[in-house]
């Protein structure tokens, strides 16, 4: 029967893809089960200067005034409210590393990148660009604006000088 033959072929193609796809990426699968991609799908070997931090760690860096906080959200969101002292580098406008030439970034210092919260992606993407730009101590605060404000930590709604 033609339909049976068709289904057989479809299953065969799917099976072949499954075997090759999982086989070739075996090392990635191992990393996945070791919990490497809990926060985002990023190869921490390729981007070895990027680390994910929790709210507590972000708060620590903030109170010790050791890090530059970077808000990767759009300008409008930043102006409505942001972590006190943070600068705004909207990922949408700075997708290319050349665009960052005009902004002073501390090559050796620590930067903490954040966006809205765990559902946003721009902090991760901006961190990749910053890594390409040569920054070597990048922290992604995945809890972001949502966690920060939930804890009632210091914020500002003014447009801080950048």
């Amino acid at each position: 029967m033609a339909l049976k033959k068709l289904l057989k072929q479809v299953v065969l193609i799917l099976f072949l893809s499954l075997i090759i796809g999982l086989g070739i990426n075996f090392s990635l699968i191992k990393k996945y089960f070791q919990g490497d991609f809990q926060f985002g799908f990023i190869s921490l070997e390729k981007y070895d200067s990027i680390a994910f931090i929790t709210l507590g760690e972000a708060e620590g860096l903030f109170s010790e005034e050791e890090a530059l906080f970077i808000d990767s959200r759009l300008k409008e969101a930043f102006q409505t409210g942001h972590i006190l002292g943070a600068v705004n580098i909207p990922f949408e406008e700075y997708k290319e590393e050349e665009a960052l030439d005009l902004i002073f970034l501390p090559p050796e210092g620590t930067v903490v990148v954040y966006c809205d919260g765990s559902e946003c992606n721009s902090s991760l993407e901006l961190a990749k660009v910053l890594h390409q730009k040569g920054l070597r101590n990048i922290k992604i605060f995945f809890g972001g604006w949502i966690e920060w404000t939930r804890e009632g930590l210091p914020v500002s709604s003014e447009n801080d000088p950048q």
Binding site: I13, S17, L22, N25, F37, F41
Partner: protein, 141 residues
């Protein structure tokens, strides 16, 4: 329905070629594609991850099979299915107002927009045409 032999061969080359290219770009950057799928916020992370490892291979294998004429009905059916699902995903994403890259061509992806719907629909038309015309006319290289 178009039944001209040469037009159908062109359709096969176009649809097969697009999927081979799209699939290969994703195969070289599985984590990037996993992030792209996760960005649609439809599947949980685990599913996004495993889809990212397997889906590109289905695309490439079907693309190669379609061009070479191996399991042609099955590969066209699968590719049409993909295109239909993409079409729904793109539409839903636009309606939900999520501003993301489509993930269609790995790192060369662009924003999800209406033009993407048009391109996807054209490919779906080509693909369905290959599938249904095969029953009427035997097309061989």
């Amino acid at each position: 329905m178009i039944r001209n032999k040469y037009i159908l061969i062109t359709f096969r080359l176009v649809v097969g070629g697009v999927f081979i290219w799209a699939g290969l770009l994703k195969i070289f950057d599985p984590l990037g594609f996993a992030q792209n799928i996760a960005n649609y916020r439809i599947f949980p992370e685990g599913i996004s991850f495993f889809l990212a490892l397997v889906l590109p291979w289905i695309e490439v294998i079907c693309g190669v099979f379609l061009i070479l004429g191996i399991f042609r009905s099955a590969s066209t059916l699968l590719l049409s299915g993909f295109l239909a699902v993409f079409l729904v995903l793109i539409t839903v994403t636009i309606i939900r107002g999520i501003d993301i890259d489509c993930g269609c061509f790995g790192s060369l992806s662009r924003k999800v927009d209406y033009k993407l719907i048009l391109e996807d629909s054209i490919l779906l038309f080509f693909s369905l045409n290959i599938y249904f015309s095969r029953k009427a006319v035997r097309v061989k290289f």
